[in-house]
């Protein structure tokens, strides 16, 4: 079954649990992502969004479960997953240009880097041109504004041609105007080349505006274990929506259906007082699936995952 999933989806996450010692952070995460999707992950602060991203990235190991990219189990961080963090994405000792060509130079032996540099620089300048940063290519990262630094980080990640571009609150440290500029900017880039994006943010508006698909990760839910506070529950995907991509404009953020969806997600995912039952999660996205895990249904004996296809 995993084979068929793998052929259809670029990213498959199945039965993934993650705990730090006693603390459960993620509990039974299942999700699939098609190639070319811009999926955003949103959830309350501390729910485990960054943890999920680190698991996919290979920066940390799952406690149990499976993560596949193009059908292959993920290993240590490698070139098939690019990453842009909120901070520390750029190397402070390298100029903008050297930061962007770093990927190519690191892949070849140091002694042949000099002769290849010309070609690398040419390619990097194309990217910097696209990022509207060409005239800043010789500056150090610390000489750039926050928004410019993140554009360099995006160029640096994209030039390595990852299968999935992962981002963890990349615009979280920017002021509102720059943030909006960057949102439109990344959407333009994505529109032009449709790379797969896995974008983590705690800002619901941003998640809805950017994504073609939104996952809501939350620890505020209830299940057959009851309602008690003493039960340690890890976060689950509590909602999964397809997001229609309307013509690109910041106006979208004020459209009625946008606001409605925002309201419903805020209720389902962000409100500690409103606990949805696991069976009532809104997982209406056609690619959405959930495996039955022990304690849910009857799969106690058989760990082979079964598909719940919510669209039928």
């Amino acid at each position: 079954m995993t084979d068929t999933l793998a052929s259809k989806y670029q990213l498959v996450i199945q039965d993934v649990h993650k705990s730090y010692g006693e603390k459960k952070v993620l509990e039974d995460i299942d999700l699939t992502v098609r190639s070319g999707e811009f999926c955003t992950v949103v959830g309350p602060s501390g729910c485990g969004k960054s943890t999920l991203l680190r698991l996919i990235l290979g920066q940390e190991d799952v406690s149990s479960g499976f993560i596949y990219i193009d059908g292959k189990p993920v290993g240590l961080p490698s070139t098939d997953r690019g990453i842009v963090y909120q901070r520390y994405s750029l190397f402070p000792h390298l100029s903008v240009l050297d930061n962007v060509i770093l990927g190519q130079t690191l892949r070849i032996a140091p002694w042949s880097a000099r002769s290849k540099r010309k070609a690398f620089v040419d390619e990097a300048m194309v990217y910097l041109e696209r990022m509207r940063l060409a005239e800043h290519s010789h500056k150090l990262p610390s000489e750039l504004s926050g928004g410019m630094q993140q554009r360099v980080a995006i160029a640096q990640a994209l030039i390595a041609k990852p299968k999935i571009l992962m981002m963890d609150e990349p615009f979280g440290a920017l002021d509102p105007e720059t943030r909006e500029e960057m949102q439109i900017f990344i959407l333009e880039l994505w529109d032009a080349s449709r790379f797969t994006v896995f974008f983590v943010t705690h800002d619901l508006e941003e998640a809805l505006f950017l994504g073609s698909r939104i996952f809501v990760l939350s620890q505020f839910y209830t299940d057959q274990r009851g309602n008690g506070q003493q039960i340690r529950r890890g976060a689950k995907i509590v909602a999964d929506h397809h997001l229609p991509k309307t013509p690109l404009s910041a106006e979208t953020k004020r459209a009625p259906h946008f606001l409605d969806l925002m309201e419903s997600i805020r209720r389902d995912g962000f409100n500690p007082a409103h606990l949805q039952h696991v069976d009532d999660f809104n997982l209406r996205h056609p690619d959405s699936f959930r495996t039955l895990s022990p304690g849910e249904g009857d799969s106690q004996s058989d760990r082979m995952p079964q598909l719940w296809d919510k669209s039928q």
């Binding site: 990235l57 920066q59 240590l76 961080p77 490698s78 070139t79 997953r81 690019g82 990453i83 963090y85 901070r87 520390y88 994405s89 750029l90 190397f91 402070p92 000792h93 770093l102 990927g103 190519q104 690191l106 892949r107 140091p110 150090l140 990262p141 610390s142 630094q149 640096q156 990640a157 390595a160 990852p162």
Partner: protein
Amino acid sequence: MRKKPALWGLHASPPGLLKYVLAALPFLVVVLVYLIASDLRHDVNHADKLLPGFGQMLDSLKDLALVPDQRTGKILLLADTLASLKRLLIGVVLASVFGLFLGVNMGLLPGFRALQLSFVTFFSMIPPLAILPILFISFGVGELAKIVLIFIGVFPVIARDIYLASTQVPREQVVKALTLGATQLGVIYRVVLPQILPRLLDTVRLALGPAWLFLIASEAIAATNGLGYRIFLVRRYLAMDIILPYVLWITFIGFSMDWLLRRYMRWRYPWYERGGN
């Protein structure tokens, strides 16, 4: 807006000229106090050796710095300086290179850290001067023992500081480099190491003080030339007119090295002091 005070308080911002005057002031005070004390002593005893006047010191210095020694035919100050600098530089450079590699590998490779960290920490607690006799016994009284002493004295400090610096490189940077296609060795030697180099120079600046200490101690005990050797040699004749200029000269060399290293760092690693992103 209120004008900022020139000198007093948290908000003081001394203007340019005043800054230089302030910096020079403590030096002038010390020189003045010395001169007065020296004069007072000479009034009492014309042949006082303890606080020689500047003229006396200059005369002795001239003999050492300009006139070749009768016995060896060499200019003593120059020969001493070169001999000492050679020992100091070889010791410090070796310690830096080894310390850098050990530290950066300990910082990034958990297995290597498990193997080395306790040992290096333990080793660094050995008082180097306490094992000086061992060094002279095992390496003889030639150059080797002196260089080894300087090495043993400053190497653990450098290694531990570089280790700390490399553990402070954000995990995100390591992951980022891997996603860009770096090999594991590439991460260590092509991503982290270049970022640590200015920190190494900073550490070396601090380690130069102890390095001089070890140098002079070893020269004092067994040597045939060197700045420390000369100072301890002329001590027998109470030759303060030589000792004092020599001490000043050593201080001046140390200060210049520090200054040069700082200048070089600013020029070579402009991103360092600004603190990155």
